[in-house]
Subunit: 245 residues, 2 copies
Amino acid sequence: MSAWKEGSDARLPLYQRLREEIMDRIASGEWPPGETIPTEAELTRRYNIAVGTVRRAIDTLVNEGLLERSQGRGTFVRRPDFDASFFRFFRQVNAAGQSRVPTSRILSASLQTPPPAAAKALELTEHESCICLERLRAMEDGSLLAEKIWLPASRFSGLLEIPLEQFDNLLYPFYEARFGQSIGSARETLTIDSADAATADMLGIAPRDPVVVIERTALGYDRTPLEYRCSMGAAATFRYQIEIS
Amino acid sequence: MSAWKEGSDARLPLYQRLREEIMDRIASGEWPPGETIPTEAELTRRYNIAVGTVRRAIDTLVNEGLLERSQGRGTFVRRPDFDASFFRFFRQVNAAGQSRVPTSRILSASLQTPPPAAAKALELTEHESCICLERLRAMEDGSLLAEKIWLPASRFSGLLEIPLEQFDNLLYPFYEARFGQSIGSARETLTIDSADAATADMLGIAPRDPVVVIERTALGYDRTPLEYRCSMGAAATFRYQIEIS
DNA sequence: GGTCAAAATTCATATAGATGAATAGATAAC
DNA sequence: GTTATCTATTCATCTATATGAATTTTGACC
């Protein structure tokens, strides 16, 4: 009566196998974000392993930020907070030390043939169309962020019928609520460029002024690319701090 | 017969107290980088706690990158690899995927009154002088990095007598070997600026071109600031990648 | 001296169980 | 109904122990 899935490699340590089992359950949506996973005692019974081993598997996932423990309540599937990590790049911490979500406004939404970068990131062929959103975000300090966002049209059908004012400030919960598409992880690349005329105008800076370009590919829990976005902000407001040890 | 230090807070869990004990021993130089710490069995005896608790304390420190385990050999105090983390910012990965240490040349070394930023970072008063090094580093792809490095003169006496050619390519092992000053951690801040004429000339770019400025304060294991450095590179060669999950 | 094999050391994995602390839900008292 | 208390659940900490795997040390042997 083994509860292990087929893919599980018996040569691996038990705690690693359990870790992958849990990740699979999260990826498949069986244990959705925000909900609890089974209790330690339950997992102990289900897989017939010791509590210590279960705790170790959960420990690693908590460490990786996939799970969150709460004494007395249970262990929850964590909803990753992308915006905190993203806006850390810019000077977006107020006096209290906490970052506020900037206000944002969708400028346009349209159906397009994906440009090469977007097609590559979203793994689309030339024949598959995508939705392109243009968005302007205003930071607390008054600086601006110009964004272009590409989504695979097949997974977001009906989005173009939604009036632009009805888009939420945060897009990922919006994707989840309206289209059932949950973002589980993302890859970002940060480069520096010079502003072209159109971008400079949007950001309120001079042409040729340096801009920070952040390209992000956001993936679902099953690692399917769900969104490609390119954000540009004036480099003068950029600041990134890191501790090394 | 308690082996605990005085500062240890008895209200804290044992594994956290042991974690701090180990950190203190590393900070004080009692357990120097590159060497092993006592074995799990030894710590078990010394503090009269269970192996599981010792392992948990070590686990967290391994996770934080301070220690490194090696089955059958022991647990070692890790020597942090700053350059890997630093050059990750730039396109410094060759075909094999591994980054090579760039060649560097010291242009000058002199005794100075610290400029405000350096004085603040090194916690020096106006009356304490510091050593200033100017260095140029050539990356594999041909791009350059111009650096100014400030050191508290009191801790690096005799440095100015060393011929510039005898400086090692990597400064931190050099500090450790020649002056007994080990770097344990660092704080970096990354911003974007426009190149002034002198910097542009050094880097071989046009004036006003965007440059990446990395300010680093390097601390000893006891968290005394030992070095302040300011590195500038052409923003065009800059690239930073991050995974969020 | 050099080589190979056995032994000792040290971390890695796993089990079992005890006590404590935070939370949530049910029950009793008012 | 509201409040206070008790109880069950669930994770947190800690102990104790056993077996396995990687590495180093030791010692016999040639």
